[in-house]
Symmetry: C2
Subunit: 101 residues, 2 copies
Amino acid sequence: MEPHEPDLTAVPVTAVLAALADDVRLQIVRALAEGGEAACGSFDFGVSKATRSHHLKVLREAGLTRTRAAGTSRLVRLRRDEVDKRYPGLLDAVLTPHPPA
Amino acid sequence: MEPHEPDLTAVPVTAVLAALADDVRLQIVRALAEGGEAACGSFDFGVSKATRSHHLKVLREAGLTRTRAAGTSRLVRLRRDEVDKRYPGLLDAVLTPHPPA
DNA sequence: GGTGTTGTTCGAATGTTGTCGAACAAGGGT
DNA sequence: ACCCTTGTTCGACAACATTCGAACAACACC
């Protein structure tokens, strides 16, 4: 089956924002922004693997990540350049820590 | 009753993103970014006034807009400076037109 | 006071999303 | 061949979102 990784220009803004508007997914994106490529299993944020797989699918279909198989694992990485090009400042604005003050 | 216009620092990022992740609300925000202050009724995007009122409430409670009474109308305006300060680049990234190419 | 305009709130219908366990698929190792 | 690890997919369920019409509130104006 196809990986279903659309071009960012084919994804409505609202879908990109919706993909980022979830706590678990935001943690995943933050981890990817810091750590580069990572296996799906490395994102243990207190949800089952079914849920995690679902969130990774949402991110992938929003055009935010790319996934490639590597043995029994799958490596996920953030499509930083493409996102920054189409939505300059979005990731920076959303990924930087936000002091409660 | 209180207007319920929280400080931006008190609103989780995901709530801000969720508020922007809707077509109707994004149109409202775009209109506000261009036209400055506007009455609620000026946002006729094919939804009923009940629905419009709901969306304005979501934007207000996400800390994105401010509302003040003016006679029988209510004037809404975007909290541009505050949003830009906390999330630099967010509004720009999201409000600028996105060519499908 | 009565009427019209402008919004808000309520209740209900409908649709979407997040979550899980269980079943399944694909690889790697022994 | 067998098993373990790693992920995905399937149903199901609960929670939340969007939408509407109708009822209500506040104000202005005659």
